[in-house]
Symmetry: C2
């Protein structure tokens, strides 16, 4: 009835034709194939069966033959595609988003390409760092007796005492026993969030706020709920409403020279914030990142929220990194009550403790006679830099509205004309030779306006800041026109 050779021949022809059909598409009927190829129905049937075995067609009895879905190629050695499934699928925990977005953090941590002026980062340039004192302190620290022992998990006692005095002020309301040494500010934020809120919980954040906080909250499975800030800090009525609406038991904020807005929480609002937290049975995490970045012309600084809190409501957060070097990864959490044990347990389980020589180096540094001189120099330079940037902005790009001229920190927060494409502007700026931060990553939800954050910390000096703003003008001329 049929010849093996004609089956093979027809299968060969069909094998070539079948690629012209989409997966699931119907092939010509057996009768058509019989006529077209002038073979017997049995030859057609056998050839189709051969292609079905090969996975090229699917035959459905009584309905005909269809182009099969392409078969998955057997994974070649070195094929890591399976990871995409493993990194996403999780039947038992599908309520928590899996991917971790480090984009906003990396944007401020990555050095810009050579020749590009950095107005986007958050660290002091080499000439504002106490580099000689750091090197000397580290060398001494590594030679101290016991330097290579494990330190107490909560930190070296004398360093805890120093942070306690810094945080508590002259009143002495904070003791060394209230302090936990952390590996810088970001680790302190992660530890606080992980200690205070369980995966799936809401956490209230300022809006706008530092993208590293939003990323840390999301990476810990938390839902950041934004509460708008104006020039007097967070708005208390909205904060109360957010506590009620979200059930959050944590509000994390920067009451002093907030990043990015530069806002300082007013005296009346300080009380209102603590009252709102008390009503909600919630903690306030006070990220006091900028207290040592005060400008020369600031006048007396407001007290910490911590100083108005006898009940352990406030978890206070400090870092030495901002005013020294990104690589002196030493910070502190101060808290009072059972929460301290939770913070310590989270840090111990996550990372054990902070390297002892780094802690000893920090202690050497802040105890040296050069330390107050260093702080005064930073205060003077930051004020100068702020003025240089404000002047340059007013001259070069008056269309960008500076929302607030802060007397501390290193950020200016610029409101862009409505409808500006932030990313296009940041991209044009980079092409013009200056890196700036678009505003979008600073918002947990859709922002009401477009912004740009400029930092006057990382540039080498005043003239570089002015030149950076001139380059920004080039970008504005291109994008805002």
């Amino acid at each position: 009835m049929y010849e093996r050779s004609s089956v093979a021949e027809l299968a060969g022809r069909l094998r070539q034709e079948v690629d012209r059909y989409s997966p699931g598409e119907k092939l010509p009927s057996s009768r058509d194939l019989v006529e077209t190829h002038r073979v017997s129905p049995v030859t057609v049937s056998r050839a189709l069966a051969q292609l079905a075995v090969e996975g090229l067609v699917v035959t459905r009895p009584g309905a005909g033959a269809y182009r099969a879905a392409p078969r998955t190629a057997p994974a070649a050695p070195g094929d890591t595609s399976w990871q995409e499934v493993a990194l996403s699928a999780d039947a038992s925990a599908d309520q928590v988003p899996r991917s971790v977005d480090a984009g906003g953090v990396l944007a401020t941590l990555t050095a810009p390409p050579p020749g590009v002026i950095e107005l986007s980062g958050g660290y002091l340039p080499p000439n504002l760092r106490p580099e000689k004192a750091l090197s000397a302190a580290l060398a001494r620290a590594g030679r101290r007796p016991g330097a290579w022992e494990r330190p107490p998990t909560e930190g070296v006692e004398e360093l805890r005492g120093w942070f306690a005095r810094e945080i508590g002020g002259h009143g002495g309301s904070v003791s060394a026993a209230d302090v936990l040494i952390t590996a810088g500010g970001q680790s302190a934020i992660t530890t606080a969030l992980r200690a205070l809120a369980a995966p799936g919980a809401a956490v209230l954040v300022e809006s706008p706020t530092y993208p590293g906080l939003l990323a840390a909250a999301r990476a810990s499975g938390l839902r950041p709920v934004p509460v708008p800030v104006d020039t007097d800090g967070v708005r208390p009525a909205l904060l109360e409403g957010a506590f009620r609406a979200s059930g959050a038991r944590v509000f994390i904020c920067q009451p002093l020279f907030q990043n990015p807005s530069g806002a300082v929480l007013s005296k009346e609002r300080r009380t209102a914030v603590l009252d709102a937290a008390r009503q909600a049975g919630a903690f306030v995490v006070e990220d006091d990142f900028a207290r040592q970045l005060v400008h020369e012309d600031a006048g007396p600084l407001p007290d910490t929220l911590r100083s108005a809190d006898p009940d352990g409501r406030v978890v206070h957060l400090r870092s030495l990194t901002k005013v020294t070097s990104p690589s002196l990864r030493v910070g502190a959490l101060a808290a009072h009550g059972p929460v301290l044990e939770r913070l310590r347990a989270v840090q111990t389980v996550d990372s054990f403790f902070v390297s002892r020589p780094l802690q000893e180096a920090a202690l050497e540094l802040v105890g040296a006679p050069a330390w107050p001189r260093h702080l005064r120099a930073v205060a003077a330079r930051l004020r100068e830099r702020r003025e240089v940037m404000l002047t340059a902005l007013a001259r070069e790009v008056p269309a960008l509205c500076v929302t607030h001229a802060p007397r501390g920190g290193h950020n200016l927060w610029l409101r862009l004309p409505d409808g500006t494409d932030e990313d296009a502007l940041a991209g044009a700026a980079l092409r013009a030779g200056v890196s700036v931060a678009p505003g979008r990553p600073y918002f947990a939800a859709e922002p009401a306006a477009r912004h740009l954050r400029l930092s006057f910390a990382p540039a080498a000096g005043d003239s570089e800041i002015a030149e950076g703003v001139r380059r920004l003008r080039t970008a504005c001329d291109e994008v805002l026109a």
Copy 2:
């Protein structure tokens, strides 16, 4: 109808009597009170109403009066009790346990009281650390140009290259681009777990295993599922079953000189473990913590699981801490495929990066001519110490059964006679002047037998190890008798 004075008088009497009743207990009926106190029903009714206003009784119409639950005292300033609620209640996320148990970790991180011989920790004593080399390396590192700059978030390039060569061996299967520098081994474990599994997910662990792993998994909201280990490592049939039963996509293990059992995964089982993971679409985290703690008499070591894995199945983990100092908090993760980006993102968001001078110090140290000498010295001393401990155990406490005499690492895992109270034994040992680790914290579920872990790393020398075992005998004589 009633006199104000008699109401006040009755209320006064009842106020004194009411304390004799438990909260919720029924007070005498109104009729009884009328008779006992010889007052009118209205007086009784008014007096009870007065006490109800004061919160001392609750009146239920038609049922009578009951002693009220004691009213909460208004919180005095400095009262942190509210924190217990805030740290536990979380309506939105009640599936994830909130408290973090650092007990098992702290037991190995905390130095024992003076005069107590430490047979419980996991770090080398000062005389086995390369302390002079560490101090010199740190001093040089802090003076290198760029030492106080931010490092690349994934780590200093040359150090990544060194780890890549260490992990990949001569085959060169691992490149610097596959390596992420971490702040020691515990941070690497936390980063791997947080990158690979979402809160609520199961993660397979060896049983017994290192308590710091169980704590890290639980603190990240994961459910550790134990898979038993024998002297050839994890049992593959049970591993396959555990993957199926739990839906886990991660198995974390120590194939070389497992902590605490000392087991080395056999060659056949290596293949079976990777096959089981492949079938389950799962990652294997290979914690290769003990490769540099090999003993002089070990012979050639088995290859890493990583070397048999072209598909990015294995996330490999190393630390420099174990063989140097607890304060050189430098380790590495090596991975291949999209998972590397996830690992890097988690670490960046959690803690930014590892201090650059510490990374440079590690690089100085492992590049120095003294480094191979140090490794050889550790290998020789660990072998001696193991033999001293084994001999002392056989002589002093033959009732404790050493399950395995490992040729690497620093742990002996002792099976105790059935019914032994581990905590009583560890407590008696501490009173006798030696710290040992009870076995219970090494199990994710109920163990089949009682154990004790002894470490021959932290003691000052051979004679201290022998004396420690003699003190353990005193404890055994007391508890096992």
